[in-house]
Amino acid sequence: MVYDYIRWEEKAIADAAKKRGVNLKLIDSKDVSLLLDSNYEEEFGNVVLQRCLSYFRSLHLTAALEAKGISVINNFKVALTAGNKLLTTLALINAGIPTPRTALSFTSESAIKSLEKLGYPSVLKPTIGSWGRLVALLKDRDSAEAIFEDREHMFPLYQVYYIQEYVKRPPRDIRSIVIDDKVVAAIYRVSLSGNWKTNMALGAKAENCPITKELEDICVKASKAVGGGILGVDCMESPNGLLVHEVNNTTEFKNTVPTTGVDIPGLIIDYLVKYRK
């Protein structure tokens, strides 16, 4: 397993491996030094679980490992797609999976045109990142222009204006953990009162969510659309049914395990062992 830091999830995965007698070597990505034309694959084994927090570090390391024939979970294509909201949205649309209407622009002027197509309020998100960071609710043209002006002074990535319709929903969303195209657990993430965002990192509360046929179907389709593996699929309950708004590549499950009682770390190790065979 490669990682940046050992959080609850990585420690639980290491514990699950120990309990199952699986030899899981922990490799800190910050210590990696690879001479690309050398045989570095020997130090990584034949299957690597990618758990880096940094999207770019994860992608580059995964590419270097796959180049040597090592299987990485999730693989490069899945990581690239699920780690980028635009690529995820395109994959979902191409697979015919209901997802919030989304617009793309590259200047503040054209982003205003996108907003006119989507209507107010809409939601501006960075294409890369998590935990609700820099996600903004654009309630009207004035607030949009103010936020876009800030964006113009930021790193070029933030001038990729990925804007989504604001979906009317209960003050919660659903996080489903999907392993090998099976939904193994799901929670509602109930937002704190007064906060429209439902990220656990912002204090949302976890509640067990029953895995209905509708939820299972849409999550499995979303998993397949991005290429499968170990994923966290986020759905919203719109008036017209479930919508998938995000698929997470190195999903967190610290709150899902105690809420649902499902041994997700153990299931991850089982999947790795099955994959190795």
């Binding site: 927090l53 999207y55 990142g129 998590s130 960071r133 997470n248 190195t250 999903t251």
Partner: protein
């Protein structure tokens, strides 16, 4: 183990492993547990959340 920030006492779990994020119960600061050359554990500052960090 002492907190590098507030010097408070940070209890270390028996099953603590290198790379783990440790939070000081006194000041709430988060640090990375690392192994020194002599094999003993110490704490170092954790990187500020990167712009590309996430799930």
């Amino acid at each position: 183990m002492r907190c590098p920030e507030c010097d408070g006492e940070i209890p270390l779990a028996k099953d603590a492993i290198e790379g783990e994020i440790i939070t000081c119960p006194d000041c709430g600061g988060s640090f990375e547990l690392y192994k020194k050359k002599d094999g003993s554990f110490d704490l170092r500052a954790i990187q500020v959340i990167g712009e590309d960090w996430g799930e």
